[in-house]
């Protein structure tokens, strides 16, 4: 029994150490855990974000609060602008941080871009932002406005503008 307890203690220490390492040093999330600070050369925004569409998710880091917080999010280049979509089903950690501080860092191709998140609520715009993401992720084609009906889930949409 004593050996089993010591084994559990060792496992807990290993798990705790891994958790701390991921939260502080991992470049992006590991499984369900958010990661730490995104490293890379801070670059000026490109003339077009279309190159971003090659990847399925966008790696972003919130600048709110004390600990770094990086996650992968649904995104879309809409009318030449980078936009992100946050379904509450994946958690509201990033949304709560953006409420406090809209500054985000975006990592792409080894570079880091500084952006400011501006919430988008117009149903027609949200529908247009959501359509390519839902098609890519879930093989569902949608048309028209996306109106909130959230009982269990909510969707938060943001346009990522130049820092003000």
């Amino acid at each position: 029994m004593r050996r089993l307890v010591s084994g559990v203690v060792v496992l807990a220490l290993v798990a705790g150490g891994a958790f701390a390492w991921i939260r502080l040093f991992a470049q992006g999330p590991v499984g369900p855990l958010p990661g730490g600070h995104l490293r890379g050369e801070v670059a000026a925004p490109p003339p077009s974000w279309d190159f971003a569409s090659r990847q399925p998710y966008l790696l972003v880091e919130s600048e709110a609060w004390t600990l770094p917080y990086s996650v992968s999010v649904w995104f879309q280049v809409h009318e030449g602008r980078l936009t992100i979509l946050l379904p509450s089903f994946f958690g509201d950690g990033l949304k709560r941080r953006l409420d406090d501080d809209p500054r985000l860092r975006v990592a792409m191709d080894g570079k880091v871009y500084e952006r400011t998140a501006v919430e988008v609520t117009d149903p027609e715009t949200v529908g247009a932002m959501l359509a390519p993401v839902i098609r890519r992720q879930f093989a569902i084609e949608i048309e028209g406005e996306a109106r909130p009906v959230g009982k269990m889930a909510e969707l938060w949409a943001y346009r990522l503008d130049d820092p003000s």
Binding site: L11, G150, M152
Partner: protein
């Protein structure tokens, strides 16, 4: 007394935990074994499942049981589950081979029978609409399920949907 082999003890604890996990249902994203307990047939009206974000489903492969956590949605009272990248998923292949399933919904166990429906456009579109409402939190003017595997160069996922009927329901 401290053990001289903490790593060995940790591996022993991990092995015991793994064995324990295999003897019960899934744990988050980690698959599990049989859903143990007394089950009743899934009711014909499965609207109550809308209250639950995630359910566990147990599928069969010979005498082995394999359970995973899945999304579920109700449309017109029927219960549906869906799988992204379905052809590569063990639980999906198990259901295709043997449609008998067991579900754990809100701590209760239910037996049911899985019927693949994503190739039926009308029913699949209803599932798509129910999915968007429940998990994305939006209603759209039109939702259309894209059946089958994606064309070459198309980066969309392949999505399958199954209706879970009461066990004796062959409709």
């Amino acid at each position: 007394m401290r053990s001289a082999f903490p790593l060995r003890d940790a591996l022993l604890a991990l092995a015991l935990a793994t064995l324990g996990a295999l003897g019960c249902g899934p744990w988050g994203i980690v698959p599990g074994g049989p859903l143990l307990g007394s089950a009743r047939p899934l009711p014909a009206d499965a609207s109550f499942t809308e209250e639950h974000a995630l359910v566990a489903i147990e599928t069969r492969s010979g005498w082995l049981r394999h359970s995973v956590t899945v999304l579920c949605m109700a449309a017109e009272g029927r219960l549906y589950v869906m799988a992204r990248h379905a052809p590569g998923k063990r639980w999906v292949q198990n259901m295709v081979a043997d449609p008998r399933v067991r579900l754990e919904i809100g701590g209760e166990l239910y037996d049911g029978r899985a019927v693949r429906v994503d190739l039926d456009p009308a029913e699949a579109d209803r599932v798509a609409d129910a999915f968007l409402r429940k998990y994305v939190g939006v209603a759209v003017e039109r939702a259309r399920w894209l059946p089958g595997p994606p064309a070459e160069g198309d980066t969309r996922a392949e999505l399958w949907a199954f209706r879970i009927d009461p066990p004796g329901d062959a409709s």
